[in-house]
Amino acid sequence: MKRKTLWIAAGLAALAVGVTGLVLAQKKYTIVTVVKITGINWFNRMEEGVKEYAKETGNNAYQTGPAQADAAQQLKLIQDLVAKKPDAIAVVPFDPAVLEPVLKQALERGIKVITHEADNQVNTLYDIEAFDNVAFGARLNERLAKCMGYSGKWTVFVGSLGSKTHNQWADGGIANAKKYSGMQLVDAKQETADDAEKAYQKAKEILKKYPDIKGFQGSASTDVAGIGRAIEEAGLNDKVCVFGTSLPSIAGKYIETGAVDGIGFWDPKDAGIVMNKVAQMVLEGKKITDGMNLGVKGYEKVSVTKGPGQGFIIRGNAFVDVDKSNLKDYNF
C-alpha cells in the first residue's frame, strides 16, 4: 500500500517534470504591437498581419493602439505596457521623439523594442522600413515612364518642400527620368499642402501651360486624387499618365475611371508580420544580418544598416504596385 503510493507519487513527479520541460521547450512569447491609432483601415490591415503571425506561431501576439491620433495617448499606453512587461513590443511611433524616454525604460527592463517607420528612433533594437525612399520614387517614375512611352513632358508634386520623404520620392523619380533622353521634366516639385484641391488647381495650371503634358507623379496621398480629378474633368484620361504614392481607399475611384493609372505604397499587413518575426528572432537571440531572408514577400533580401542609436535599420523592397488590374485585392 505504502509502496504503491510512493510509485504514484514518483509517477506524478515525473509527469510534472516532463510537462514543465515541454512548456520550457515551447516557451510562448508575448509580443505587443502598438500602432499610431486604432480603427483606421491602414492599421486594421496591419492587425490582419499580427493575427496571422499569432495563429501561425502560437505566440501571444496582439495589436493595440490609442483610439485617437495623439502622441501623448500612445505614450501613456506604452508606459502601461512597460509595467506589464511583455517579452517584446513592436511600435509604430506617432512621434518618435516623444517616445524616446519610455522606449529607453522598456529596454532597461529587458523588453525587446522593435519600431516601424521611425528611422530616426534612438531607443530601438531594429527599426523596420518597407523600402528605400529613393528607390521607391524611382520605381514609381519607371512605371510612369513606361506609360508615357519613355518620352514627353512630365512633372512631380510634393506635399511640401520641407517633407523629407516626399522629396526623396521626387528626387528618386527625377533621377530615374534622366535615364531617358525623351523625358522632359517641367516645373518640378510644386507644393500641394497634402490638399487634393491644391493638387487639382496646380494640375490645371500645368495643363494650361503645357497642353502637351504627358505625365504626373504625385507624392502626398491626396495628390493623385486632385490630379486625377483635373485630368478627368479635362477629358484627358487616355492622354495623360498619372502615378503616385497613395492608397486604394483614396485613389481607387480615379483608378477605376482610368484618370489615375497606378499608385504605389507598402502593405501594412506584411510590415506587421515582419515586426513580430524580427521581435521573435531577437528573443531567440538571433541577429538580423544584411541580405537575410525574413520569409515575407518584399523582405526576402533585406538591407541592414546602423541606426542613430545602438540599434539597426532593416530595409526591405516591399513595394506594392497597384493599378486597375489588382485594385480589388487591397481594402485600405
Binding site: 488647381q201 496646380k202 480629378r229 477629358g235
Partner: protein
C-alpha cells in the same frame, strides 16, 4: 509754404481722393495690372478657360471672405473659420453617409450651415461675454474645434461622399471644349458665391443691422451710447461668419469630391489678406462686398498663376508675400492721404 495748392496738382489729387473714398477702385486697378503682367508673360492666361478656373477657385475663398468681411467691419477678427469649415464638412459628410446617403444636396447643406452657425455663435458669445480680443478667442476655438474633430470625429479621408454632394460638385453651369480638345467648365457652386455676395451686400448697405455693424466697428462706446445692441451685433457677425464657413466647407468637399478633415486649416491668412486687400481695415468700421470680391480675385490670381509665369516652386511663397506687401503698402499710403 503756400496755403493754396498749385493748380497742376489738382488732377492727381482728385484721383487720389477717389481712391480714398472708393478703395475698391484701387483693388480693381491692382487686379487689372496683375492680369496684364501675367497675360504678357504667358498669353495662355487670356483664355475663357482661365476665367473659369479663376472663378471656380474663388468660390470657396470668396464665401469665407464675405463672412470675414462682416467680422472685420464690426471691429473683430476671426481665424477659426477654416477649422469650423473643416469640422462642418467632415461631420456633415459622416452624418449624411450614415443616416441618409441618398438625400439631396439640400440636406447636407442645411446640416453644415447649422453646425457652422452654432460654432460661430459660440465665438460671438465668448468674445462679447469675456470682452476678450477676438483674435485670441478665435485662435483658441480654432485649436479646440480642430482638435475635437481629429480626436473624436475622425481622421480618415472619405472618398465616397454622399450622392447629393457628389452630383452637386460635378454639376456645371457652362461647359466647352478648348482648341486642344480639353474640356473646361464652371461649376454651379459658383452661383452660391453670387447669392452670398448679394445677401451680404444687402445686409451691409440696405439694413439697419449693416449700419450697426459699421458703428460697432467704428467705436464700441459710441455705438453703445447710440443704443445699438452690441451683443447682438457680435453674435450676428460671428454667427454669419460661422454659417458661411459651414457653407464654404461643404462646397469645398463637394467640388473636391473628398471629405478630408485635415483640409483648409492654414489657409485663413490668405482669406484675411484678400479681405484687407479689398479695402477693409483690420481696425474695423470699413469694407465693402465688391472690394472683398476683388481682393479674393487678386489673391486667388496670385496663387494660381505662379506656375504659368514660371516662378519656381521654391520662390512661390516669396513672390506671394512680396505682392501682398506691395499691395498693402499702396493701401497704407492711401490711409495717410
Amino acid at each position: 509754404m503756400a496755403l493754396t495748392s498749385p493748380p497742376q496738382t489738382r488732377s492727381p489729387f482728385s484721383v487720389w481722393q477717389a481712391l480714398v473714398q472708393r478703395p475698391e477702385l484701387l483693388t480693381l486697378t491692382l487686379v487689372l495690372l496683375l492680369a496684364l503682367v501675367i497675360g504678357l508673360i504667358n498669353p495662355v492666361f487670356f483664355t475663357p478657360q482661365s476665367l473659369f478656373d479663376l472663378l471656380r477657385a474663388s468660390t470657396v475663398t470668396g464665401i469665407f471672405a464675405l463672412g470675414v468681411l462682416l467680422v472685420l467691419a464690426a471691429g473683430g477678427i476671426d481665424v477659426s473659420f477654416t477649422a469650423i469649415a473643416a469640422f462642418c464638412l467632415y461631420t456633415t459628410t459622416l452624418l449624411v453617409l450614415n443616416v441618409a446617403p441618398d438625400a439631396p444636396f439640400a440636406l447636407p447643406l442645411l446640416i453644415s450651415i447649422g453646425f457652422g452657425l452654432l460654432l460661430g455663435l459660440l465665438n460671438g458669445l465668448i468674445v462679447h461675454r469675456f470682452r476678450a480680443p477676438s483674435l485670441i478667442v478665435t485662435i483658441g476655438t480654432q485649436y479646440m474645434i480642430r482638435g475635437f474633430l481629429l480626436a473624436f470625429i475622425g481622421t480618415k479621408h472619405i472618398m465616397n461622399i454622399p450622392e447629393g454632394m457628389d452630383r452637386f460638385g460635378r454639376w456645371s453651369l457652362f461647359q466647352f471644349t478648348t482648341a486642344e480638345g480639353a474640356r473646361a467648365s464652371l461649376p454651379v457652386a459658383f452661383l452660391l458665391l453670387v447669392a452670398v455676395a448679394l445677401l451680404t451686400w444687402w445686409i451691409l448697405s440696405r439694413t439697419l443691422l449693416g449700419r450697426a455693424i459699421y458703428a460697432v466697428g467704428g467705436s464700441v462706446p459710441i455705438a453703445e451710447r447710440l443704443g445699438i445692441p452690441v451683443r447682438s451685433v457680435y453674435l450676428f457677425v460671428f454667427g454669419y461668419a460661422g454659417l458661411l464657413a459651414g457653407l464654404g466647407g461643404l462646397v469645398h468637399a463637394s467640388l473636391n469630391q473628398l471629405a478630408n478633415p485635415f483640409d483648409l486649416v492654414g489657409t485663413e491668412l490668405d482669406v484675411i489678406a484678400a479681405v484687407v486687400l479689398g479695402g477693409a481695415r483690420v481696425t474695423g468700421g470699413t469694407g465693402t462686398v465688391i472690394g472683398t470680391l476683388l481682393g479674393v480675385v487678386l489673391v486667388v490670381m496670385i496663387n494660381n498663376s505662379l506656375i504659368l509665369i514660371g516662378v519656381p516652386s521654391t520662390w512661390q511663397k516669396v513672390v506671394i508675400g512680396a505682392i501682398i506687401l506691395l499691395a498693402s503698402g499702396v493701401f497704407s499710403r492711401r490711409k495717410l492721404a
